[in-house]
């Protein structure tokens, strides 16, 4: 764990002369020969303290470039373990890291890249209880998280502590990047006062991310962080950069500070950290309320009935690209098309609807019941549960 820091600003520390060793001069020579960085900038980098929240898709290029650039102290916050499905984009990790705590694997990798710098690791969920304590020792916070509650938490903590928050977020092919948290600039709540209600957040049918997208967005966050440290160039404060990898187009929008912002406005009404799960309406996210109104069948019971030769019509309500990953041989009608294609179904037969996890198919069952279908069941836990309980050869995605 880090020692207590002396400096609070990311300007050069004037209490002790800081210099570069011969080895460091050789390592950073491509910075040193540019007047925009030079010795002065490199010494600022050496004294800088940056906290990276999340070591995933965004945190990977960010951590690598900050470490390579010689940022003297880098804090990493993550609670997760490396999973096979991370490797498509989280380039800090290798196949051999699967199962390890992310911060442990990340710290090893960054130390290997640059043994001259200090890496602090926080193997924890950032929470209202620990955020101020963790953030307070750093000059700049970089938000590389993947969920709304943590984004609002990071924002509020940065505003309370007056720390810049280098923000990046991604979805499929699209990224958003800016800098929040400067007293004269906007905060995340100025841009988005509230998160979307959970019901309107894209479901797993609409999720996913092009592996290289967080690479590009995280690298832009790294560039903005380095520029803040060396104090050069035009920063993204007050500008929201939009990136669309599919169109390969960057656009820029003006961000304004909201004078009535409850967090950073003239008369703030939020003066301490709050309950962010509640704020984002995701209380009990891990255990969603069971839909008792929808009749269900377990994967084992479905298997037994199919083996017995019962006349069951298996309806797959996922998207065609998901059907190509794996399927149970069901009839494919994506949930969004069900209303106009329900006539394809025979209401006299017993129908078992399924999707990946059981959520979309529960909606399908509700819809079909309303449309007059009497014998409709939802496959409990979807194709994921089928893989767990019946046929492990079916891949989980």
């Amino acid at each position: 764990m880090a020692t207590k820091s002396e400096a609070t600003a990311f300007a050069a520390n004037d209490t002790a002369p800081v210099t570069l060793t011969k080895k460091e001069i050789e390592r950073y020579s491509r910075h040193l020969i540019m007047p925009e960085v030079g010795m002065e900038g490199q010494l600022k980098l050496k004294q800088a303290k940056v906290l990276c929240i999340g070591t995933g898709g965004l945190g990977a290029p960010l951590g690598l470039y900050l470490a390579a650039a010689g940022v003297g102290r880098i804090g990493l916050v993550d609670f997760d373990k490396v999973d096979d499905s991370n490797l498509q984009r989280q380039i800090l990790f290798s196949t051999k890291d699967v199962g390890r705590p992310k911060i442990e694997a990340a710290a090893d990798r960054l130390h290997g890249l640059n043994p001259e710098i200090q890496i602090d690791t926080f193997d924890t969920h950032l929470s209202s209880e620990n955020a101020l304590q963790i953030l307070k020792d750093y000059d700049i916070v970089v938000d590389g998280t993947d969920n709304f509650p943590t984004r609002y938490l990071v924002n509020d903590a940065c505003v309370l502590l007056k720390k810049p928050n280098v923000y990046g977020s991604i979805f499929r092919f699209e990224g958003q990047i800016t800098i929040f948290g400067f007293p004269e600039g906007p905060c995340y709540r100025c841009l988005y006062p509230e998160p979307p209600p959970p019901g309107l957040v894209p479901s797993c049918a609409e999720g996913g991310v092009l592996g290289v997208l967080p690479g590009i967005v995280g690298a832009i966050q790294a560039a903005e962080t380095l520029k803040l440290i060396i104090g050069k160039g035009d920063s993204l404060i007050g500008r929201l950069l939009l990136f669309d990898a599919l169109a390969m187009r960057f656009r820029e929008l003006k961000l304004r500070k909201n004078p009535d912002c409850p967090m950073c406005g003239a008369h703030p009404t939020i003066t301490k950290l709050i309950d962010y799960a509640e704020f984002c309406g995701v209380r009990g996210e891990e255990a969603p309320a069971p839909r008792t109104s929808v009749p269900e069948i377990t994967p084992r019971d479905l298997k037994a009935r199919l083996d017995r030769g019962d006349d069951l019509y298996v309806l797959d309500v996922r998207e065609p690209h998901e059907y190509q990953i794996c399927n149970l041989g069901g009839h494919l009608i994506p949930l969004g098309d069900l209303s106009k294609r329900a006539s394809e179904l025979d209401s006299s037969r017993e129908i078992v609807a399924h999707c990946r996890s059981g959520k979309r198919s529960a909606e399908a069952v509700e819809f079909l019941q309303r449309a007059g279908f009497r014998k409709v069941l939802n496959l409990k836990g979807g194709i994921l549960a089928w893989s767990d309980e019946v046929d492990p050869s079916v891949p989980k995605y």
Binding site: F171, E174, E194, P195, E206, K254
Partner: protein
Amino acid sequence: MAVKVMIPTPLRAYAGKNESVDIPATTVGEALKGLTEKYADLKKHLYSDDGRLRSFVNVYVNDEDIRYAQKDQTPVRDGDTVSIVPSIAGGRRN
């Protein structure tokens, strides 16, 4: 008179999978009304039940946030770009 309304990735599924849609309009309100008339499924994603633009959806005319212009009444001219920019969090599955 038409403006180009840019549809963000998360909402393209509700707008015929289009990246952008040209809508004849003289104000932002008209452009969004035209858009949601054409693609009814978009409406609940853009507006709350009381008819207000949702607080996690921002709308820009060119690079200006309409909240700091004349909101729905913000005038648009032929060739302007209206961007719908929703809040996105990242890759966590729901």
